[in-house]
Symmetry: C4
Subunit: 241 residues, 4 copies
C-alpha cells in the first residue's frame, strides 16, 4: 500500500496526465481509494484536471460526503466514485471522463471492442449505461448515491463503461492502470471509427484479449507512466512505497 | 456589472482563449455590451484574436460606428454584434467564428443538435442563415446594418446560428458563457460528424437539454474558464467585480 | 516593389509560416520573383522549410540555373517556379507543397471547390495535373524545364493546381497572398472531405467567389500574416518597403 | 560504417524523432545492426522512445540475448529485430511501432499501397502478418525467436509489414531510411483512409514507385533528418563518420 502522501501526489499526476494526453478537457476526474481506510476515497475539489494540486484533494465517504471540506466545493459527480468503491472491493482507482472518441459509441448502436493489443484492458466489449432508462430526463450527471449505484451495477465486474451522451468511466486496481485503460480506450475508439469505414474488422479474439490482460503489470504500466509523467511535467516515482 | 476595465481584460482573455482552443484562427471576434451603456458595445480593432491587447478594444454604437477610433481600423463585420445587441436585451456577449467542424453543417442539409451534455447550451437545434437568400451574391461578410439585423432575426431567441459558407455566431449573457458555447459547439459538430458515420444517433432529449441549460452557471463556467485562461497564458479572475 | 533584402526576409518568413501551419513538412518550398530583375527568382537551397535562413536563399534564372550557387545544392523541383514565372508575368510568388488534405483530391475524381469565403482565393475549381499523362513513369518530380512548362500550361491563369500523387502548387502576386491561398487550400480540402460525408454540398456560387477574390487585399492578408509571423517566431513587418 | 559511438547517438535520435512525429507513443522501438559485428544488434532497454538516452542502448545477439545487461530490462519484443537481422544481410536498422493510422489496415482486408511519391519507399503493397495463423491465441507480442523468424519470413525482401492487431515493422539499410519509411507509412495510411472515402484511388504505378525508390538517398533523407532532429531537440550530424 502506498502512503497517503505518495498517493495524493499520484492523484495529482494522474489528473495532469489525463489532461495532457487529451482524455479529459476542463472536466472529468480521477480518484483513489484511501490507502488506510477502504470506506473512504480521495478526489479533487471541483477543478479542471490540468490545474489540480495536492491541496485540492479531498477525502469522501462512500456516500460522497466530504470528511473535511475546508470550504472546498466538491465535484457534483463524486457519486460515480463512491458507487464503484462500494460495489467493487477490487477497485482502488476510478477515472471519469468525456474522452472525445468514445462519445460516438455511447450514442449509437455500435459496440466498442478491443482491436489492438494495447487496448485489450478495456474489456471484451464495453457496455453502455443510459441514465435515461431509470432516471428519465436529467442533466445526465451522476448526482446522487442512487445514480452512482446504478452505474456501478451496469459496469458489473468489468473495467470500463460508456455513459450515453456523457462520457465513460474506468475502474481499476490502481491509478496507473486506470489511466492506462482510459488512454487506450480513447485510442481504441478512434481506431475503431476509422477501421469501420474500411470494412469488417478482425477484433482481438477473446483468448488474445485475456492473454494481454494477464500480462499487464508494472513492466508495461511503468514504461508508459514514466513517459506520461515527463510529458505532463510531473516527477516520476518508479514505485509507490 | 463588471467594471469597464475588468471587462476589457475579459474581452482580451476571451479572444486569446478562442484562439488557443482552435475555435478561431486569424479571423473571428468576440465582443461585449458596454457595462455602463447598453447602446454601446466593445470589440477589438481588426486584428487576429491571438494577438489582441487591451488598447485594441474599441467602442461602437449599435449601428457599428466607432465612438473614438483613434486611427484604429475596425472589423468589417462589426454589424453582427450590433445587430444582436440591438435585437436582444438579454445578450451581453457575442462570438463570431469560422470554427472548423461547424462549417460542414452550414453547407449541407444535416442539422447540428446536442449529443453530449456539455454541448446542450448550443440550443435544441442550430439554425443556418444563408446570406444569399436575401442578399444574393456577396462576399458573404455581414458588412451592413441590414445584414446584421437579418442575421439577428434568424437567430431569434436562440444561443447560436450557423452561417452558410462562412461560420457561426454565438450570443450569450456574458463572455464566459459565449466562449463556453463556442468551444462546445465545435466539440459537438466534430462528434456529430463522427457519430453519423456509425449509425443513427441518440441525441439529448429536449428535456435533458433543458435540464443541462438550467444548470449551467458559474460553478461550471468558471471551472473551464480558469483552465482556459492558464492554457492561453492569461490571468484568471474568479469574479468579475 | 520591396527591396531585395526585405524580400529575402519575407521568403524566410513564408517558409517558416507554411511549416508552422502544417502546410509543408520537411519538403515543399516557396519562391519570389526577383524585385529588380523579372527574369530571375529567389528560392532556398535544398533544405526543410522550417530550417531555412536568409543565407539559404539562392537566385535562379527562369530555366532553373543558379546564378551564384556558392556550393549550395538547389531543390530538384526549382523548375516548378521557373515555369510559372516564365509563363505568368502577373505571378511574383510560388508555393509548392504536399499539403496533407489536398492529396486525396489529386488522386481521385472528386473536384476541390471553394465552400468557405476564406477559401475563395483557391479559384472556382482546382485543376489536377498528372505528370504521367505526358511524361509516363517518373519519380513524379518536376525536374526539368519541360515539366515545369507543362505544369504552368495546366494551371493556366489560375491561382492553384493539384499534382497527382505529389501535392499542389500555388501562384500569386506576392508571397503573403501565396501563403494565404496555400493555407486555405488545405482548410478547404479538409472541410470538403468532411462535408462530402454529410451529403450534397452548397459550394460558394461563382459570383460569391469572385466577390471575395476582388476584396482580398492587405486588410485581410496582413491580419493573418501578423498572426502567422508571431506563431512562427518571426518579426512582422507591416509593409514591404 | 559509422563508429559505434555515433551510431548509439543515432539510435537515441531515431527514437526521439519517432516519438516527436507521433509514430510511436510510449511503446515501439528502433534498433541498428552493430557496426563492427553483423551478428549483434543495438536496442534500448525497455523504455519509452521519448525518454531514451545513450546509456539505455544494449547489445544483443541475433537470438535476443543481452551481451552485457548490467541490470537493464530488455524489451520483450527484441526478437523482431533479431529475426530480421538474421534473415536479411541488407538490413541495418529496424523500427517497430504501433503507428496509429496503419492499425486499421492490419485488421481489415484493405491493402496499404503508396499513393504519394514521398511514400513510395513503403513498398508496392504492404503485407500483413497475423500471429494467430501460426501461434494461435497469444498476447500478440513477438516474444520468441520462432515468432521473430516467422515475421521475418512474412516480410520477405520488402521494407515494411503490418502486424494484425498490433502495429508495423520497417526494415532498411540505415536508421535514417527506416525512420523515413516509418513516418511516411503513417502519412500514406492516413491519406489512404481519407482518399478511400472519396472514391477510387489512382495509386502510384509500379514504375513510378520504383523510380522514386531508386532516387531516395542522402539528398532526400538528410533534408528530413535535419528537420526532425531540430524538432525533437537533438543535434544534427550531416554525415555518420
Amino acid at each position: 500500500m502506498p502512503s497517503l502522501d505518495m498517493l495524493l501526489e499520484e492523484i495529482v499526476t494522474a489528473n495532469r496526465i489525463l489532461a495532457h494526453e487529451g482524455v479529459v478537457d476542463s472536466f472529468g476526474h480521477v480518484s483513489a481509494r484511501h490507502p488506510d481506510n477502504p470506506k473512504r476515497f480521495l478526489l479533487s475539489r471541483a477543478r479542471a484536471p490540468e490545474r489540480i494540486e495536492k491541496d485540492d484533494i479531498m477525502e469522501f465517504t462512500l456516500e460522497g460526503d466530504p470528511v473535511d471540506a475546508r470550504g472546498r466545493a466538491p465535484y457534483l459527480e463524486r457519486f460515480i466514485h463512491g458507487g464503484l468503491y462500494e460495489a467493487r472491493p477490487d477497485v482502488h482507482s476510478v477515472v471519469h471522463n468525456h474522452s472525445p472518441s468514445v462519445i460516438p459509441f455511447g450514442i449509437t448502436e455500435r459496440k466498442l471492442k478491443p482491436l489492438l493489443h494495447m487496448c485489450a484492458n478495456i474489456g471484451h466489449e464495453v457496455p453502455t449505461w443510459d441514465s435515461h432508462d431509470k432516471f428519465g430526463d436529467t442533466a445526465l450527471l451522476v448526482e446522487s448515491v442512487d445514480m452512482g449505484r446504478d452505474l456501478a451495477l451496469a459496469i458489473g465486474s468489468g473495467p470500463s463503461i460508456l455513459m450515453r451522451g456523457h462520457g465513460a468511466t474506468v475502474a481499476a486496481s490502481n491509478a496507473r492502470h486506470a489511466v492506462f485503460i482510459s488512454i487506450y480506450l480513447e485510442v481504441n475508439a478512434k481506431l475503431q471509427m476509422q477501421a469501420m469505414a474500411l470494412g469488417d474488422i478482425k477484433f482481438l479474439t477473446p483468448g488474445e484479449a485475456d492473454k494481454v490482460i494477464s500480462r499487464t503489470g508494472p513492466y508495461t504500466l511503468n514504461r508508459a507512466w514514466e513517459n506520461w509523467c515527463r510529458r505532463a511535467g510531473r516527477p516520476y516515482q518508479a514505485e509507490l512505497a
